[in-house]
């Protein structure tokens, strides 16, 4: 069995990524092909290239400006902000706003900074990601390989559910959670995230497991392996990439959630996004823009780091989740 699964793992790694063969296809525009093949080489400073790269650089600047402004503002002192230009780099770098945002910023209820929200978010995100992926992967596996009567109907409802505006289901969910005594608790919020993450994750896993060769599943069946054994010993080792994609999707999604956090938890347990909004949009006191921007950056940092590290997998996740639907 171990032998079989290593063989399959090798196979799984050759499953095409989102961008198939485009590079290998060759010389459509003959742009930067090295060597003598293809059309006549062009000068790299042709008008077309200047226009092309000029446009792309301008666009990139537009996308980068807010990040730049955030970082610069968070490193300035308040007097410098009042004097000047939000785009200018700080004359005197100070990390005080960051310290203050993390440990002293006030939300109107308490003044212990964003750190509380950060840890709440961690305590919400970790179990939610684990639970939702565990449920959805087993589910997707059942749908791909163990179809039972009616399975497709439930799946269709589930996918439709992904499009229903959450607003329609918010209050019934409140009632359900209140009935089982979990309204306003972290566990309750974890359940909510698992439920609302289920459609897209199940779809992701189902599509992935369907794309694996069926012979493999049949061979294991012939060898006498059952539902769980095939899942644990064959499917799991082969599906590391899709688990990573699902994790990226869920961690960013849950970390960035605002609506569920504000409805299903109490102020003590508010996730970081909710607390950030309360800090920045709080009406009391003098506005400290540098602290606000430091707090905003801190909140955005986790998904940003995940995005930068995961790169192509992130793109693959959203493309798989979106286009295949």
């Amino acid at each position: 069995m171990a032998d079989l699964s290593t063989h399959l793992q090798a196979h799984a790694e050759t499953i095409p990524q989102t961008r198939p063969a485009a590079e290998a296809q060759g010389d459509r525009k003959s742009g930067f092909q090295p060597g003598p093949r293809g059309a006549k080489p062009r000068k790299s400073f042709s008008r077309r290239n200047i226009l092309l790269y000029g446009t792309l650089i301008m666009v990139s600047l537009y996308y980068l400006v807010p990040l730049w402004v955030m970082v610069m503002t968070s490193l300035k002192g308040m007097p410098e902000i009042r004097m000047g230009n939000i785009f200018a780099p700080p004359l005197e770098i100070t990390f005080e706003p960051w310290v203050k945002a993390w440990s002293e910023a006030c939300t109107g209820l308490n003044c212990d900074g964003l750190s509380r929200g950060f840890w709440n978010s961690v305590r919400i995100t970790v179990p939610s990601v684990v639970v939702s992926i565990a449920i959805a992967s087993v589910n997707g596996y059942a749908l791909a390989n163990w179809k039972f009567k009616g399975a497709d109907t439930f799946f269709t409802i589930l996918i439709f559910g992904a499009f229903i505006p959450y607003q329609v289901m918010l209050y019934p969910m409140v009632i359900l959670l209140r009935e089982i005594g979990l309204y306003g608790t972290l566990t309750g919020l974890v359940i909510v995230h698992s439920i609302f993450g289920m459609p897209i994750l199940t779809l992701l896993f189902r599509n992935y497991f369907t794309s694996l060769p069926e012979e493999l599943f049949k061979a294991a069946r012939v060898d006498g392996a059952g539902f769980w054994r095939i899942y644990v010993q064959i499917m799991l080792p082969m599906s590391l990439p899709i688990f990573v994609v699902a994790m990226i999707l869920q961690v960013t999604g849950i970390w960035n959630d605002f609506l569920f956090g504000v409805i299903y938890t109490k102020p003590d347990l508010y996730p970081m996004t909710v607390q950030l909004n309360n800090i920045v949009n709080s009406v009391q006191g003098v506005k400290e823009y540098n602290v606000n921007m430091a707090a905003t950056l801190l909140t955005g940092l986790v998904p940003l780091v995940i995005y930068l590290i995961s790169g192509k997998l992130f793109v693959r996740g959203i493309a798989a989740g979106a286009v295949k639907g």
Binding site: W146, F148, I157, Q167, Y171, M198, N256, N277
Partner: protein, 296 residues
Amino acid sequence: MAASRPLSLFRNLSAKIAAIPMILTALVVFVGGTLWTVAYSFTSSKLLPKWKFVGLDQYERLWDTRRWMVSIENLFIYGLCMLVLCFVIGFVLAALMDQKIRFESAFRTIILYPYALSFIVTGLVWQWVLNPEFGVQGIVRSLGWQSFTFDPLYNADIAIYGVLIAALWQGSGLIMVLMLAGLRGIDQDIWKASRVDGIPAWKTYVFIIIPMMRPVFITTLVLVAAAIVKVYDLVVAQTGGGPGIATEMPAKYVYDYMFGGQNLGQGFAASTMMLLAVLIVVIPWAYMEFGSKNRG
């Protein structure tokens, strides 16, 4: 797989147990919850849901409320601009990225990174960039153009466009990626053929490539439309619905009435209208996409 053999509840039992969460979610939360909300939108529930049938009263009141009308109007302006601009920007950027450029992944990383950030972060950043005193307007004025005015978040007439700028910044990268995937899926021989025939590139795009990308466009359309109807956090963070009620959105109306105003009936009615709007988009699409046959 089990179809050919005799049925019984206990056949394939593990798979059924594994599917219990999905079945419960689908039936209880998605179907049950939706029906419950729709049903209670016909009652006069205030602080707590109460089964006192009042017919279409809540809907009449809803459409008489100025705030709801403003929300709907905003949703239309925002939605239309968002759709058109997202598609245009997304497609043009994807076409540029598809020119075998150098540093493609660097450009893509830059254009897509806002998508990793939450709407709250997006809203707060743009609130600061568009701040009339210190932001864009302040800087242009300090450069000497004293009469320059650009304060979308403080001018009720154009506030919704301030939200739009932020939403485009956050979401257009995703559209670009989807469109790029679509462009990459097109057979390269088409380009060769059109080049042999001497057709200019823009004509190839408009008359050949874009019609071929119809499926990608439709999927993108559904995704963007569903996201537009749900827009909530962005407005809360960036403007709080203000100035006045200039940037109110339906989703915010629902939240405020359900959890703030303690007028559940209104919240239910408004959310049912949102559901209706989504169904109008999704059902024809689902019909086209899955109606004829199930693609595995």
